[in-house]
Symmetry: C2
Subunit: 108 residues, 2 copies
C-alpha cells in the first residue's frame, strides 16, 4: 500500500518540542502575534521565531505580516495528517487482531 501520507515527518518533528506544543496550544485559542506568543515563554524573541519557522514548514501554522507585526494562526487541517497516520496504524493492528480471533485472549 505504500502509505503515501503528505509528509507527517515535519509535523511530528515540530510537535516533538514542548515549546512548540505550547505555541500550538496557545494558537488553538486564536491568532496571536510573535510578541504575544513569546511573552509567557522563557526565551528570546528570536528563539520563538525559529520555533514558528519549524511549525510553518510543517504546515501547522500560517502567518501574515500586518504592519510591523506578524499575525500567526493555527492550521488545524494539518493535524488531520497525524490523525490519519495514527488511524492507519490502529486499523492495521486491529485487522491483525481480528485475524487471530479470540483464541489468544484465553492465554491472558
Amino acid at each position: 500500500m505504500l502509505h503515501q501520507y503528505p509528509s507527517i515527518d515535519p509535523v511530528l518533528q515540530a510537535l516533538a518540542d514542548p515549546t512548540r506544543r505550547l505555541i500550538v496550544e496557545r494558537l488553538g485559542e486564536g491568532p496571536a502575534s510573535v510578541k504575544q506568543l513569546a511573552a509567557p515563554l522563557p526565551m528570546s524573541l528570536a528563539a520563538v521565531m525559529q520555533h514558528l519557522q519549524v511549525l510553518e514548514r510543517a504546515g501547522l501554522v500560517k502567518s501574515e505580516k500586518r504592519g510591523r507585526t506578524r499575525v500567526c494562526e493555527l492550521d488545524v487541517a494539518r493535524l488531520d495528517t497525524l490523525d490519519a497516520w495514527i488511524a492507519e496504524r490502529k486499523r492495521t493492528w486491529e485487522r491483525r487482531y481480528d485475524r487471530l480471533g479470540e483464541i489468544l485472549k484465553k492465554e491472558t
Copy 2:
C-alpha cells in the same frame, strides 16, 4: 484547565524519529524480534535496541524475552494518548470558530 494528559511528551518525541516510525509501522503488522526489526534498517543491532528502548519508555512498545530472542509488540492503546491531544486542539479551535459565527465566512 491544565490539560493533564499522561505525558504525550515521550510519545511525540519517540515518533519524531523516522527510524522509530518505521519500527512502529512494522510492528503494526504484528510482533517481531529485534533481529527482524533491524533487518531492513541500515544500522547496527545495537542502534535498533536503543530505538526500542525509547519506544518502550514512551509506552508505545512492549517486549518480552523468549529464550535468546526478544519479541516486541506494539501497544496501540498508547496512540490514543496522541489522539486525545489532537482532538483537544481541534475541539478548542472549533469552539472558537463557532463563537465567531458565520461572519468571517463572508470575507472569503
